[in-house]
Subunit: 326 residues, 2 copies
């Protein structure tokens, strides 16, 4: 199956690595908004084209994996490129999913293409964990925790504070909250009781560190509702110890079974990822296989992870997965 990548940042690079790990896939080409000659791929012999020429290559790609940002790129890109390709994206602005779905559905359906949106780990694998667990335990409570991991949005917010040269923010789930949920205690948890935030900040020379710390800790939406710790460190230390993009998290469903709800049950799904974009793109690659197959079967329009029978994700046959994985 021939994979195309649109956008060659962390996520696009991750898709390139994931394609290498899947022997039934090959990377056909990469589309970029930059000057193609300035983009150097890891894979030898794969062409880079300007995104303006995308239509020319529509027969070279079975599934186009769109690696743009959710804020402004994907709402335009996914419906646009669904005209020419089967497409998949990792759109993660939860509140705007219904609108994005409708737009992509229309474009893909009209062109007889198959599109899959909001694929990754949250939304994506965490959504699947929530759906399965809700269907099995209709009588219960959901808990989602994120981390320990780097939040790009919160790191950006730190870097916008006057006097801050660079910074990185870790979201950390509270161990006491995880323990209570895992024990089936069904706690009511405030925002502050679920996560803490830890900031590593490089201050500009002569900056007022107390003022920076106060400004971060009191920032509404981002930090004010959390117990936030601010560590001032050198730029060298930041680059040396905090240049990775790890992430992960936990999805729980705690629910009851039995005639009188006498039995407790806890379902837990968790991820611990050294690289958030490398994992997200591995999920994208697996679902690209499903998109390809569903399109071959005439299942067109827009899909989400909820619409994909798991067998479509595997390179193995039905006989093989029943024999070895069931």
């Amino acid at each position: 199956m021939k994979i195309g990548i649109l956008g060659y940042g962390n996520l696009g690079k991750g898709v390139e690595c994931a394609v290498k790990s899947n022997s039934d896939m090959e990377l056909s080409c990469v589309f970029t908004r930059r000057d193609p000659s300035s983009v150097k791929l890891l894979t030898a012999g794969v062409p880079v084209y300007n995104v303006a020429d995308v239509e020319k290559y529509k027969n070279n790609v079975d599934v186009l994996i769109i690696c743009g940002g959710s804020a402004t790129d994907l709402p335009k890109q996914t419906p646009e490129y669904a005209k020419y390709f089967n497409v998949i994206d990792s759109f993660d602005t939860h509140a705007r999913i219904p609108e994005h779905f409708a737009n992509v559905y229309k474009a893909a359906k009209t062109a007889n293409h198959t599109a899959l949106i909001s694929c990754g780990w949250d939304p994506g694998m965490f959504s699947l964990a929530r759906l399965y667990a809700n269907c099995i335990l209709p009588n219960g409570s959901d808990y989602t925790f994120w981390g320990k991991g780097v939040s790009q949005g919160h790191s950006d917010a730190i870097r916008r504070v006057p006097g801050v040269k660079n910074g990185k923010q870790y979201t950390i789930p509270m161990q006491s909250a995880l323990d209570a949920v895992r024990a089936g205690k069904n706690p009511e948890l405030s925002t502050r009781q679920k996560h803490t935030r830890e900031c590593y900040v490089v201050a500009e020379e002569g900056a007022d560190k107390a003022k920076i710390e106060k400004e971060i800790k009191e920032m509404p939406n981002y930090f004010a509702d959390y117990d936030t710790t601010v560590h001032f460190i050198s730029e060298e230390e930041l680059l040396h110890n905090h240049s990775g993009i790890p992430h992960g998290g936990f999805v729980f469903r705690s629910g009851k079974t039995g005639w009188n709800n006498e039995y407790n049950n806890v379902i837990e799904y968790s991820l611990k990822l050294d690289s958030n974009p490398a994992f997200t793109s591995s999920v994208l690659a697996a679902f690209a296989r499903a998109v390809y197959r569903m399109n071959k079967e005439g299942q067109t329009g827009c899909k989400t992870v909820f619409d994909v029978a798991p067998a479509y994700l595997s390179p193995l046959s039905g006989d093989e997965i029943r024999a070895h994985l069931l």
Copy 2:
């Protein structure tokens, strides 16, 4: 949707409870091999029929949930009743799944019915955890641990030892093994390093306890390859403290991403269940909903959990699950 139950033991009773928790389902009837007048249901007003009359009621049931045992019941029952009904079972003899699938497929396909086999938590939810994780991380290792929970087979084995009046066996995963896997260390684990076995035994009066303990600990296949602990207790204590059927377990996939496999990732799925049969039957009920819908769409033959798009499991609409669970 009208649910029928075939076999009213722990699992059948669990299905009855699960149906009560799903407002789009109603229990239509229960079939038994016993004298129907001797079977007392929890649900008021639901008839119990003898299984010999099953064909008479084929229009009263949308999905028949077959609650027999895997050793001798299900290999006969599921293909037989797939002639008259859409059916679902929890067949769990892993090695015989291909053969069972083929038999059920033939019967269901011929009758234009939809059947789903091997549904529960292992096989079932654990199989799904393995499949998803293998597709996302093709380069990695799988680990499955069971427990802490009661193994019916091992409890039966204890009770067959001469001098044993009653007994219960708990399978317990080794914390050191869980920790190593969770930390991404990819350990090679022997049988002994993965689980321990704890036995609670009521000896007959005057029995030789040392001999019983030796016989249990040296029993091939069941206990010889494990560190086994035997506790002798009174019958009262057994009934009071060990009458439940809790179970659970852990599925891990530990795998690499990145161009040079430089990133570790650990995916973990776990269950902690107060009642094994009540949870298994809750999974059966959710998948019965999918069977009903797939049959309405003309998707006939035999399926497994791998063939079911998750959206089919939910009573909510596509719009609702995208808005609230994605």
